[in-house]
């Protein structure tokens, strides 16, 4: 046994090596490169890039960047509101479909349709629907005598319009996970409740929700991370405007890197954003762990 130990360690190390190599190449090196870029100014002259060390100058400037600060605020608000609505709607729809005996396959297909569409198609559909002059939403409002609204160009409505698109797009994702969760719950518990003539709301609050809690938390974490990375709806519908009403973190990074061509500052903004998202993930995982430790 003692003689086999080094070879076992070698085998373990060898079998893990490809994974470690992939991790280093695909995750660690890009992050290290980003970190190096964030403390440098990258300029171009004579067709070559020139990196000059600027220390923490870029990182310090992130805190003073009013547009980025608006992006952080908007992203947090967007994530909180859209994910809350999606969780509520997705869970309710899943509950209804799980209890439907007729046409449940059809309902599932209908509810899942938006998630199958590419973001660019969704952007095009909603851009047409939101159009102030030719859009179907304002045309419907006109039938009822209501005045036309500028859904994406008004500072009061723009973020709500984006949230509506996100809810439409991602509620099916929540629905799918919730439905899977509901269908995996032990049927005997519900049969016992039915024998005891437990009212539906008591069954919901005392049996279904506690049993579904792990699924709910995992879905919440997934959706929150995805919501923090929102980009395509903003890019396609509002470009962060009007003013900074729909500015979000991903869009700020996109503009800094790809429109303004500021690699150094863009890297600094990216690093700060990665840290912010990591904090959200850690908080969510802690919450999940606490809930898991709670007695049933």
């Amino acid at each position: 046994m003692a003689r086999r130990w080094p070879s076992l360690r070698l085998w373990r190390a060898g079998s893990l090596a490809p994974l470690v190599l992939f991790y280093v190449l695909l995750t660690l090196l890009p992050v290290l490169n980003l970190a190096a870029m964030s403390v440098s100014d990258v300029s171009w002259a004579a067709g070559r890039s020139h990196w000059s060390f600027v220390g923490a100058e870029h990182l310090a400037r992130v805190a003073d960047d009013a547009v980025y600060r608006a992006g952080v605020r908007n992203t947090a608000w967007f994530a909180a509101v859209s994910v809350s609505i999606q969780m509520l709607l997705g869970f309710t729809l899943a509950l209804l479909v799980s209890r439907t005996t007729r046409g449940s396959t059809l309902w599932r297909m209908v509810f899942l349709l938006p998630i199958l569409m590419p973001g660019i198609v969704i952007g095009a559909i909603w851009k047409l629907m939101y159009d102030a002059d030719f859009g179907v939403i304002n045309q419907v409002l006109a039938w009822f005598g209501a005045r036309a609204r500028d859904w994406t160009g008004s500072p009061e409505l723009a973020m709500a319009s984006i949230i509506a698109v996100d809810v439409w797009h991602w509620t099916p994702f929540v629905f799918l996970l919730m439905l899977a969760g509901l269908q995996s719950l032990p049927p005997e518990v519900f049969e016992a409740a039915r024998v005891d003539a437990t009212p539906w709301w008591r069954e919901l609050t005392r049996i279904t929700l506690p049993l579904m809690l792990p699924t709910i938390v995992v879905t919440l974490v997934f959706r929150s991370i995805m919501a923090f990375k929102v980009f395509d709806e903003i890019y396609l519908l509002t470009s962060g405007g009007p003013g900074t009403a729909t500015e979000v973190i991903s869009f700020s990074i996109y503009r800094t890197f790809f429109v303004q061509g500021r690699a150094g500052y863009g890297a600094a903004v990216s690093l700060v954003t990665m840290m912010l998202i990591a904090m959200v993930v850690v908080l969510a995982l802690n919450l999940q762990a606490r809930l898991a430790r709670r007695p049933a």
Binding site: W44, A45, A46, G47, R48, S49, V67, D131, A132, D133, F134, A148, D150, T152, G153, S154, P155, T238, S239, G240, G241, P242, G243, T244, R255, F258, V259, Q260, G261, R262
Partner: protein
């Protein structure tokens, strides 16, 4: 690449024209280097179909192949940046929009055309476009005596588009000043048709691009003398304030709904949909006006040069495209690219280009009588404007500056900021970023 079908006589005409062009061209570089297709990075722009169609003539007369890589505006910028920064460019020619020319010239990514072949000469009839074809690499500024870096491939500039039928019905005259335009806009404005449209969207050279002709013709500017190396920020001048207040007022009184999200595409949609009486649009939008598939106002839209400001100046912002040769190419590819550019600038080529519906890049072709076809009614306005063109931001930091301007202009138009405060903020932002770039800068005292 799909090609449009053409009738036999038309094809014959094109081939004859092509043969004439081949014999008239001073450079015959292509025949020596035509082993591989010429690869051109082009934008998915309204003028691209004309460019593609014209290039078929080049392919026929030189028995050559041209491969187009077509991308949307922002996508092309990223592709061309990557191409010139890599070991070897995948494109022999890259199209660059006016706003990014300084970035590509100053970065040293492009080969001066005379260095590829000293026999190359830019023909004097090719429009200078505010000297954006020539670059002084030592002073890093555009200069009429600088090296020729590129050939323009599309003469896109701003024009005033107006509904001639509505003008006639109200007995209005084509405006010569912005005040006359505002008066016309008020007269035309109604519940079904808006009087005048300017881009107010915060995007990629949108609100700032449309504000610039007003700013400059009111006597203001962004920098004191950027072309001369003085980047003192003067955007918070009293003249700029008047220009912005004028735009704000006009948008309120006679603009379409949702000024904060007005993009160029939406302005075109409103005009062709019969919901807008006049707008500032680029020349490239023209083919859509008379296209019965896209327009409900075929034959009713006309164009004119932009009006003059109180200073008497007429300024139209450049939105032209140039084609240039990346430095990171083998010399035979550079020569092949230069052969194409030299063919492109010839008079006969440009006449063909005009006939396909594009805006030619030679003044003599713009001024020549093209015939009675109503599609040519755009050309006199372009010819009259070509001496008034100005590059909005002749510095490599153009994208960053425009981004700062877009935000503040959009805030003013949606009512989130006052004009003076927005201009002061723009001046602060632009000064800070120019200082970071190591440029000689400063700014005017804040407006009150």
């Amino acid at each position: 690449m799909t090609r449009p079908n053409r009738s036999q006589p038309q094809r014959r005409r094109w081939l004859l024209a092509g043969a004439a062009l081949a014999s008239g061209s001073p450079l015959r570089l292509w025949a020596q280097t035509a082993a591989q297709p010429l690869r051109i990075a082009v934008p998915q722009a309204p003028w691209y179909p004309s460019f593609e169609r014209l290039t078929t003539v080049f392919e026929r007369i030189h028995a050559a192949k041209v491969a187009f890589d077509v991308s949307p505006f922002t996508g092309l910028l990223e592709k061309t940046r990557n191409a010139v920064r890599s070991g070897q460019s995948p494109f022999d020619l890259i199209c660059i929009n006016s706003q990014f020319i300084p970035e590509f010239y100053a970065g040293g990514f492009l080969e001066p055309l005379a260095k590829i072949d000293p026999r190359f000469k830019l023909q004097p009839e090719v429009i200078a476009y505010d000297n954006t074809l020539r670059w002084d690499a030592v002073r890093k500024v555009f200069d009429a005596k600088g090296e020729v870096m590129a050939v323009p491939v599309n003469g896109n500039i701003q024009l005033l588009y107006y509904r001639a039928d509505l003008y006639a019905a109200k007995g209005l005259k084509v405006p010569r000043t912005w005040d006359e335009l505002a008066a016309n806009a008020r007269a035309l404005h109604g519940p079904d048709v808006a009087g005048f449209g300017l881009r107010g969207n915060r995007g990629f050279f949108e609100a700032s691009y449309d504000f610039y002709p007003l700013l400059a013709s009111f006597g203001g500017d962004i920098f004191r003398n950027a072309a001369g190396g003085d980047c003192t920020v003067v955007i918070n001048s009293p003249e700029a304030l008047k220009a912005l207040q004028f735009v704000q007022q006009l948008a309120k009184e006679a603009g379409p709904a949702g000024v904060g999200s007005l993009t160029q595409a939406r302005l075109i949609q409103l005009l062709t949909g019969g919901k807008l009486a006049q707008a500032v649009l680029v020349a490239a939008a023209w083919p859509q006006m008379d296209d019965p598939q896209r327009s409900a106002v075929v034959g009713k839209v006309n164009v004119a040069p932009l009006p003059a400001g109180p200073s008497g100046k007429v300024v139209t912002t450049l939105g032209h495209w140039i084609a240039a040769v990346p430095k990171n190419l083998p010399s035979e590819r550079k020569k092949a690219a230069l052969g194409y550019l030299d063919w492109f600038q010839q008079k006969a080529t440009q006449q063909q280009y005009r006939d396909t519906g594009a805006v030619p890049i030679r003044q003599d072709v713009l001024l020549a009588d093209p015939g009675p076809d109503p599609k040519y009614r755009l050309l006199p306005a372009v010819a009259a404007s070509s001496g008034n063109t100005r590059l909005m931001l002749p510095v490599p930091q153009a994208a960053e500056i425009a981004d700062a301007m877009e935000l503040q202009l959009n805030k003013v138009l949606v009512g989130e900021a006052q004009p003076a405060a927005a201009l002061n903020q723009m001046a602060r932002d632009i000064e800070a970023l120019m200082a970071r770039a190591g440029m000689k800068t400063g700014r005017l005292p804040d407006l009150r």
